[in-house]
Symmetry: C2
């Protein structure tokens, strides 16, 4: 038997998105921590207001703000790890969201239960198992009312699609988690291959921070690798892959395969891809 000894603190970000309910949740967490003698960090940020001035969705803005908040608390409190509440149902829902949106292999993989300083200790437990534990031990809990609304895509999937899929396969949730696990291994292998090949295909240019690739070497690769090399270059040039669909990757492939002379194409967020003299270059203009 091993007993771990660690210090726990709680961080709660009030998104101010659900009026009185948001404040009630904050009070609940605050009271619970006081009772348990846990240190608590609370902040209030009007996510909707910030979201209005951004291109990203409310959900995406909320996630970015939340991560910034958690990182700030982590260094303030001098903690080692941030423990997140994601469970196995969240994995299933994300998998289905990505299937519905249309996604390549990467979108169908699992977020690891440990990624940097973030851990997800409940990732292997279904929501029902957690609720059973709460019920059996007579613990107090608090639900976000938006979880019951079918307003957001994730809730529509939870309350509509998953029950429907269960009529085809009662064990659909475990089944999708297993599929996702297999695909995660495959994606990991492919990414490692791409990392190796990218360093050979990339042209070292001391003057520029933007990547350039040798087209003759891209052409020699397998289609699965070609597409990933281009994605990797876009990621380097743009900092993220937001708004980049496989359609854009195919456009760049067409450019290098069918273009006879120098040409360029424009991708989202001010990204331009130039093809000239056997070299494919990526540049980003600040918008």
């Amino acid at each position: 038997l091993e007993v771990s000894s660690f210090s726990l603190a709680v961080a709660h970000l009030n998104h101010l998105a659900r009026g009185e309910d948001s404040n009630r949740d904050e009070d609940f967490v605050s009271n619970l921590c006081q009772k348990l003698g846990l240190k608590i960090f609370i902040d209030r940020i009007d996510v909707a207001k910030i979201s209005l001035n951004r291109v990203a969705s409310f959900q995406e803005t909320a996630r970015n703000i939340r991560h910034a908040f958690l990182n700030r608390i982590l260094s303030e409190w001098r903690g080692d790890l941030v423990s997140l509440g994601h469970n196995a149902d969240d994995q299933v829902e994300s998998f289905l969201i990505n299937i519905l949106r249309g996604s390549g292999l990467l979108g169908l993989t699992r977020t690891p239960s440990k990624k940097g300083r973030y851990i997800r200790p409940l990732y292997g437990c279904f929501r029902s198992e957690i609720e059973d534990y709460i019920g059996l031990n007579g613990l107090k809990h608090c639900s976000d009312v938006t979880n019951l609304k079918t307003h957001y895509l994730r809730n529509k999937i939870r309350l509509g699609l998953i029950p429907f899929l269960k009529s085809f396969n009662p064990k659909i949730k475990s089944s999708l988690i297993e599929t996702s696990g297999l695909l995660t291994d495959d994606e990991d292998y492919l990414q490692k291959e791409v990392d190796k090949i990218f360093s050979k295909v990339a042209i070292n240019d001391q003057e520029s921070n933007f990547p350039s690739l040798r087209v003759d070497l891209i052409i020699k690769q397998h289609p699965a690798i070609q597409k990933r090399l281009l994605r990797q270059a876009i990621l380097q040039a743009k900092g993220d892959l937001r708004s980049i669909s496989s359609r854009h990757i195919f456009d760049v492939l067409r450019l290098i395969k069918h273009s006879v002379s120098a040409s360029e194409i424009h991708l989202p967020d001010g990204l331009t891809v130039f093809y000239n003299d056997g070299k494919l270059s990526f540049r980003k203009t600040n918008l």
Copy 2:
């Protein structure tokens, strides 16, 4: 403008599975070919009767019998290619069936539109496009009544799941076909890698037709490759991968990772996997 010149013959296998309807379909095809001046080959095989004595499902037995029939006609008539009627909707349905069953990457890939002597010229057309063409040109057609019943899984998916998924994404069918196309490239690359690695990991044994693998070399591979090497060995030993789930693959992995001395495990269809002296051997006993 290019005009292809080729001879066309029609092959119709009456499965005798839908009573009078089966015979009506046969008559329809037969009359149509006579009118169009096309050579027709017809055979009647009671698939249900044969299926009774087999482990495989009705659908699987039907497919095997159909392929044997088509291959026989092909060599009898001295044809070059067999053209099958599969369309884009069939691809979408197969993708979803495999997602529901729980499948690795291979199950989520597209059947190529040309595979050996079989071609699928309508693979890029949705059923609705084919029906539009039939309607616009006033062509006669004939529907299999079982297509309207939700008895079979494929029909349940066609008539229940796909319309439901459209409420999430109206372009879900094209989206799934695109996803499947991306995954097909990935699987193709991985399979080529596995082929290369398998020949290095396999131990040449002149006496046996069954594969043996070097465990020290398997262990060194990436998990995605390890699982595929084992699947490849099982395919060689057993002739197919029927009844083999990822659960079995994980069992074999556990055997080589945690077994201290000689041991064996039994897999479906009389397949036994032996681990002894750093060697993993696969044997099949005829049942």
